[in-house]
């Protein structure tokens, strides 16, 4: 079983109902190939870090799927849709597994705070400045 994160940016121009149906369609496509949706996040409108197709804003949406099959059909559909500015499918289960292993090896422990330093005694008043001897001038 593999885990994939699918992040895509919908065009900000399309009306809300259309975007919900689009999102629903994409979900159906993935589930048709045997994927199981485990998490879904709608980030809503966000500013893009740089313009894509002359848009400065985009409607972000995230799916997390568990699947044994490939998501190539979803990938193909997203690529062909002109309503999607950008999409990205990232496999995350291996990275998560590795992270878990690392976390087990060096478990998170409460950091022991050093005892608060007791108030330092006020520094002694500086010694009186030495009188600078005048340079002897010899003829």
């Amino acid at each position: 079983m593999r885990t994939y994160e699918v992040l895509f940016i919908l065009s900000p121009q399309i009306p809300e109902e259309e975007s919900t149906t689009l999102i629903h369609d994409f979900k159906r496509v993935a589930e048709g190939t045997g994927a199981k949706l485990t998490n879904e996040e709608a980030w809503g409108r966000r500013r893009l870090a740089y313009p894509i197709q002359k848009f400065t804003e985009g409607n972000y949406h995230l799916f997390v799927f568990d699947t044994d099959a490939s998501l190539s059909e979803l990938d193909r559909r997203m690529r062909n849709s002109d309503r999607i500015l950008r999409h990205m499918i990232v496999r995350t289960d291996l990275d998560h597994k590795r992270a878990e292993k690392l976390a087990k090896r060096n478990p998170k422990k409460e950091r022991v705070r050093p005892a608060p330093a007791f108030p330092t005694t006020a520094p002694e008043p500086a010694a009186a400045p030495e009188s600078i001897p005048e340079p002897p001038v010899s003829e």
Partner: protein
């Protein structure tokens, strides 16, 4: 001719009572810089998520480049993961490729 007691080499460079003596040949060490530690090792973050813009942004200076390891102090393992995460975030337009 007036003899001057101050020789040109001996300016006011060494203050009185300073720890000068021991560091006579101390031209090699200019100043002590604190050893930086890897943020991800300290906070035990093993998975660096490309969607976590707030964390990634700490490693993106003004110009939008990835902060090098020698500046940020990130360990090799986490720098590699951070690099991948930043690159993914750039594709998703969460972070800029370059700013000016």
């Amino acid at each position: 001719m007036a003899l001057q007691t101050r020789r040109p080499g001996e300016g006011g460079s060494r203050g009185p009572g300073g720890p000068g003596g021991a560091q006579q040949g101390g031209k090699k060490k200019f100043f002590y810089r604190r050893k930086r530690v890897c943020k991800f090792c300290v906070e035990k973050i093993e998975y660096i998520d490309f969607k976590d813009v707030k964390t990634l942004q700490q490693f993106i200076p003004e110009r939008g480049k990835i902060l090098p390891r020698r500046i940020s102090g990130t360990c090799a393992l986490h720098q590699r993961k951070l690099q991948n995460a930043i690159k993914r975030a750039r594709i998703a337009a969460l972070l800029p490729f370059a700013t000016d």
